[in-house]
């Protein structure tokens, strides 16, 4: 080991250690940087990160219309069988048969919040919501139907 490298090592080590201490020292002197959420206490003002994924929901507008065409792309994309889509055939005014959504079954207890269904959806019908308080007393309640009763496909979406 040559002497120049030895001295360089010592000073380099001191420099990098001081750099690390500056980071923790900064946080120590700036307690307002604390990011802890005291959850049950601040339930009303809870602020979650934008990327937090809690459950899959289907968007409905004010006319109770959704954008799901029943294409089953999300069902195919789902890695663990969380989504089951039951389709039906509507008769269009021209008398043709057209595939449409009957029931969007979502098994929350199987979902890993991987976001693949949302990315697979060609029409942007489903999104990830931030609700995370999912505890229920009966497992059956975790099997949800995402399309609201009486909702139909928004006009113009193929």
């Amino acid at each position: 080991m040559n002497i120049k490298k030895y001295i360089q090592d010592v000073f380099g080590a001191i420099q990098s250690l001081l750099k690390g201490m500056r980071v923790t020292g900064y946080y120590f002197l700036h307690p307002k940087e604390i990011i802890t959420e005291q959850y049950p206490d601040n339930r009303d003002s809870l602020k979650l990160a934008d990327r937090f994924k809690g459950e899959v929901v289907m968007l409905h507008d004010e006319n109770n219309e959704h954008a799901c065409t029943g294409c089953t792309a999300c069902e195919l994309a789902c890695p663990n069988g969380t989504i089951k889509i039951i389709t039906q055939f509507d008769i269009t005014p021209e008398g043709k048969k057209k595939k449409a959504l009957n029931t969007f079954v979502y098994h929350l207890e199987l979902c890993t919040m991987c976001n693949l269904c949302v990315e697979a959806c060609p029409t942007g019908a489903i999104v990830m919501a931030q609700n995370f308080e999912h505890s229920v007393y009966d497992r059956k309640q975790l099997t949800k139907t995402l399309n609201k009763p009486g909702s139909k496909l928004r006009a113009g979406i193929e």
Partner: protein, 358 residues
């Protein structure tokens, strides 16, 4: 003005007047024992709480804040829990050594309290080899760690204890040499004389660069000696579950845990005595008025203030640096700290001979 010295004198005079000189000595010894135990308990509670809060803020968390106002009773609740827990002794353990080890580590910590000066003229016993005594008794604690690791009859404990043995023996060298470096300046091993020699300024300012280098090396070495991160290979919870105290539970575990924090307090007290003048207020040369104003702050506050600042520094180390590997640990000691501290000692000797210090 508040001072521990006057309280001590009052008690001493009262005892000598009422029970006679020899009986007074016995009662004083018992009182001192109780005081040391109380100090240990309070230090344990305060330091554990401080560590948890400091680590929390450094990691952008809040830390304990539920038990008592702002979480202040958290450590008391933990202590109560530990006292109510069962103190298990494993079947395959060497039962005598297993139960003895926690007491040895506490006795070693208690013995070091003897020469430490907590305030002006407030010291259990002013030994004329105080610093030597501290560094020799401090190395007794490695026996307790080895004892705990061996008698547990558990491979994690044994590995942790062996690592700890290698580590403490190595780092004691550079800690000792840093102490010697300062003793060269003070030309005395007595704690009281070392403090008295810093009346016109602390050694860290008077001793130029060698004193600063000695201080840095001392802080690194004592962090390793107290088995704290980044040198906590003896515990290494990610590798050895808990190292030498894996098999301990209840109050026996609490004694090891307490001893760690007591040792931190002790080494920081020694560092404050050697480099920052112990209870000596902040004096600058012969600025008489300034020195007088500083004297109005009680000496016990100076001592505990300095010690707690140094404890904060050691906690800062712990929550910043990653743990070293065992070969890196020994490299650091034998290839870097030891040669540097030897060269530093030589430099300090030259300075002391030429009287370049103030």
């Amino acid at each position: 003005m508040f001072s521990l010295e006057s309280i001590k004198n009052t008690v001493q005079n009262w005892l000598q007047l009422h029970v006679g000189a020899s009986m007074a000595l016995v009662i004083e010894s018992i009182l001192l024992g109780i005081l040391v135990i109380i100090l240990f308990a309070v230090l344990g509670l305060v330091l554990v709480f401080m560590e948890r809060k400091v680590s929390a803020v450094m990691q952008i968390r809040i830390g304990p804040n539920r038990v008592g106002p702002r979480g202040w009773l958290q450590t008391s609740a933990d202590t109560l829990k530990l006292m109510l827990k069962e103190g298990l002794t494993p079947d395959g353990a060497d039962k005598f050594l297993f139960n003895l080890a926690p007491f040895i580590i506490m006795i070693a910590a208690m013995l070091i309290m003897i020469p430490i000066a907590f305030a002006k003229n407030f010291q259990i016993w002013d030994i004329n080899i105080g610093v030597l005594y501290i560094s020799s008794v401090a190395s007794v604690s490695v026996i307790a760690i080895l004892m705990a690791g061996w008698s547990s009859n558990n491979k994690f404990s044994l590995l942790g204890a062996m690592r700890s043995g290698a580590q403490i023996i190595s780092y004691e060298l550079s800690a000792g040499i840093s102490v010697i470096t300062m003793v060269i300046l003070t030309q005395s091993l007595s704690v009281n004389e070392i403090i008295a020699s810093q009346e016109n300024g602390w050694w860290i300012f008077k001793g130029h660069i060698p004193a600063i280098i000695a201080f840095i090396i001392f802080m690194i070495a004592v962090t390793a000696e107290t088995n704290r991160a980044p040198f906590d290979l003896a515990e290494a919870e990610s590798e050895l579950t808990a190292g030498f105290h894996t098999e301990y539970s209840g109050m026996k575990f609490a004694l090891f845990f307490l001893a760690e924090y007591i040792n931190i307090f002790i080494v920081c007290a020694v560092a404050s005595i050697l480099f920052f003048g112990g209870w000596m207020p902040f004096h600058i040369g012969n600025w008489q008025t300034f020195n007088h104003i500083m004297d109005y702050i009680p000496s016990s506050i100076w001592f505990f203030g300095k010690t707690f600042l140094l404890i904060g520094l050691i906690m800062w180390f712990r929550w910043t640096f990653p743990r070293l590997r065992i070969d890196q640990l020994l490299n650091l000691e034998w290839k870097y700290l030891l040669p540097i501290s030897l060269a530093n000692m030589l430099l300090m000797t030259v300075i002391a001979i030429l009287k370049w210090y103030l």
